[in-house]
């Protein structure tokens, strides 16, 4: 029996395990499917990590290394090269590994930190031939940075997500020619700093409101056809541009990897594709917490760390101070509960529910907007009345937003909170 089993040894799992140790748990197991801790950070050899959390600029492996070092100072047990196959409703974890065999472990609490996967060609139904040479940006990144192999010479990138932008620069530095980055939306899906540092600095054109409408080539990609799209994202005939290339990289979105979560019967939010969570990252299954990209896709690892520390601390609190014996449910019968609604301009919020009684001082709230906005107000309303507002000069779908709601304010709210965006003239 473990106090806590953390599924996933990437940045989320590492931060959660460290925080749970600090919170007093002494029997913690991290299960990691890869041969080393650190998750996807290990292949992110560019810098720009840690500006918020460590107040300095680190590479991905360095950022992971800091946490692996911290973990080494605790007594947290780690099983590498071990894949979790099932999580049951009564918190049994089935896992299998080459050296560890097939094991079923019982946990008092669980942190889900499995991360996310990339959307593929099939998910967005790009028409055309099916030659080799179409890779997700993350798979290409693994080939280049971990395996030491270049997946092509002349490259078109579809999607302006951060991994795609990073790979535009990486492939260029390794000697490939990146012909274009193509984005179906009228704005980029990545961080502004990546547009500047990865495209502009290398004279790589960014075609907004464009998409790939055909892939040509028998055995290997030979050409990619790019067309402009209208306001409904339908290709406009006559706008085709043909690129002679051997590689198409896709950076068209990330999907939280929640197969274990679904299997365990945990409620999923169809907007985030992650578990529905409460203010301390607890899911609908008591004692099971979710954090990092498995809960919702983040832009910056620093925020993953903060969220996961919250989840780890909450797991410790659950085990040390939580209910004995039978679980009373995630929300006790006499407890106040607020549901967070997405108002105008907001695509999702995390958490989706808040139990004000369990908030100490501030309740952090993450959300994304559905369009680029200048000079805006984030409005928080409850029962039709505005209870808070926050000013922002710039909001974009590619950049996760964050507000902190004071406990006193939550106490004023009734039943629900609605977050909405209102553009205001200066």
């Amino acid at each position: 029996m473990y106090d806590l089993i953390v599924i996933g040894g990437g940045p989320a799992g590492l931060a959660a395990a460290c925080a749970a140790w600090e919170g007093g748990l002494r029997s913690i197991l991290i299960v990691e499917r890869d041969k080393e801790l650190g998750g996807i950070l290990n292949q992110c050899i560019h810098n720009g990590f840690g500006l918020h959390h460590f107040k300095e600029e680190l590479t991905g492996p360095e950022y992971a290394g800091r946490f692996v070092k911290l973990l080494g100072e605790t007594g947290v047990e780690v099983r590498l090269d071990t894949m979790v196959l099932e999580v049951t409703g009564d918190r049994q974890v089935h896992m299998v590994g080459k050296s560890t065999g097939y094991r079923v472990e019982q946990a008092r609490s669980i942190v889900l930190a499995m991360g996310c996967r990339e959307r593929t060609r099939g998910a967005i139904a790009i028409p055309g031939a099916r030659p080799a040479g179409v890779f997700t940006a993350g798979a290409a990144q693994r080939y280049v940075n971990m395996e030491g192999w270049m997946p092509g010479k002349r490259v078109v990138i579809l999607g302006s997500g951060d991994i795609g932008l990073i790979m535009a620069r990486r492939m260029t530095l390794e000697g490939a020619k990146v012909l274009a980055c193509v984005e179906v939306m009228p704005y980029s899906g990545g961080l502004n700093r990546n547009i500047v540092q990865c495209l502009h600095d290398y004279d790589i054109p960014l075609y907004l409101s464009h998409t790939v409408t055909d892939i040509r080539g028998k055995d290997r990609v030979e050409q990619v056809v790019v067309s402009q799209v209208d306001d409904n994202r339908n290709p406009i005939p006559g706008t085709e541009m043909v690129f002679d290339c051997d590689t198409l990289l896709l950076s068209v979105g990330l999907i939280p990897e929640n197969e274990l979560t679904r299997q365990a019967g945990i409620d999923i939010d169809r907007r985030t594709n992650g578990a529905v969570v409460y203010e301390n990252m607890e899911t609908s299954l008591p004692g099971v917490f979710a954090c990092g990209n498995v809960c919702h896709v983040h832009d910056l690892v620093d925020f993953v760390t903060a969220e996961s520390q919250k989840a780890g601390a909450a797991a410790a609190d659950y085990v040390l101070n939580g209910p004995d014996g039978l679980d009373p449910g995630v929300v006790t019968s006499d407890e106040r509960l607020l549901t967070v609604n997405n108002g105008g301009g907001v695509t999702y919020t995390v958490p989706q529910h808040i139990r004000p009684g369990r908030v100490e001082k501030l309740c952090g709230l993450f959300f994304r907007v559905n369009r680029v906005c200048r000079d805006s107000e984030i409005r928080v309303t409850s029962g039709g009345a505005q209870i808070a507002r926050f000013k922002r000069e710039h909001l974009a779908p590619g950049e996760m937003e964050h507000i902190d709601l004071p406990k006193a304010l939550l106490d004023k709210a009734e039943g629900e909170l609605t977050i909405s965006i209102q553009e205001v003239s200066k």
Binding site: R33, Y102, G128, W149
Partner: protein, 478 residues
Amino acid sequence: MYDVLIIGCGITGAATAFELSKYRLKVGVLERENDVALGTTKANSAILHAGYDPEPGTLMARLNVRGVELAQELCAKLDVPYRGCGSLVLAFSEEERPTLEELYRRGMENGVPGLALLTGDEARALEPNLSETVAAALYAPSAAICSPWEYCLALAETAVNNGVELRLNTAVTGLEQTSEGWTVRTSRGEFQARFVVNAAGVDAALVHDMAAPHAFDIKPSRGQYYLLDKSEGDRVGRVIFQCPSKVGKGVLVAPTVHGNLIVGPDAAPSEAHDTATTGDGLRFVRETAQRSVPSVNFRESIRNFAGVRANTAAGDFILEQSAPRFMDLAGICSPGLSAAPAIGEYAAELLEQAGLALEKKDGFVCERRRIRFKELTAEERAALVEKEPAFGRVICRCETVTEGEILEALHSPIPPCSVDGVKRRVNAGMGRCQGGFCGPRVVDILARELKLSPGDIVQDQAGSWLLDRQTKGGNRDV
């Protein structure tokens, strides 16, 4: 000198090789590609049709019904994923009812068991997600689904286990009649054979023309598909057809044996090897399928693909001796997969009639098993990993495929040499991430086991290279 050389190792060539491997014969199969099942066999609806479509009295009708009857036992013996799920043909209006009645009549005549005409409500009771506009349906309980490439692979592997020689990467370039039979010229030298069987799929007319006067044209017809995630796999429990038209059986919605949902195909004339999808074709498939099952969620798409049907103007399979000791197995469009083992039997009969002595051999083994880690119980998994640790390393996390299964495939009678070859044998890369995660790991295993550089590993057919060159400098082991 071969007794029989079969040209092409799709489902038809494999089924014929399997059938002939029961006899005391020296049989060879020449396959142009680096693996079996790379043509129409790997890209179709994966349906074993009940047999009410073909015109009574045709070869298609007879071999379809016989083929699906054989398939059930064969799939069980050869460990091929198979599910007898049944099918429904939908009518959306009173005007379409006569079509159902005609199919019912044909089915009865063809000997299809258990056919029943249902009302719209009865059909919806079986399949709650059917459209409210469904007015009537033809129910055929004997229709089934299978894994077409594993079916082909299982037949070919069993043939090889029973002495058949499979020559991959061997393209036939010419045929010349000799006093004893044929000289077959290929990209890898010449072979002598007493009999030649043409199972060249969409290229069957080209091969025919090497041996006999031009007699038929293959009119390739491309069909495009959606494959949806397992989250949509239970949308229907049976194969859902619409009323067939001149160009094909129309757009279907069906479960797959792998737990996904398949939707398609359209039908459009194409080049023989043009398996590209188009925006218009995919849109047509989406919109047409939603007439049958409006709730199909195409946001759960994990892959699109297209296959090419080897249609001819004949309206029936072309199974005949068209030159001395030269047999055509051509025009194998739908229901070719369903009929395959019966086509194999028929080909053996044709050869016998042409003078080939068929003498059963002792020790024919009709058996095949592979370990499917995902389908094992917790206890079985524990015991397996204890014995063979490679089964403890999960390579494909979407489909829970282990390194042990890949290593087993690499030691099978027809080992894979490509990433997709591994996929067709063990399902690695078939899931929702489409190999994004396991692709590099499969390349790694292939390179290690085949003692090749990762740069030599291809995605699928020869020429489908994956990696260009190593990055500049550095050493990963430093």
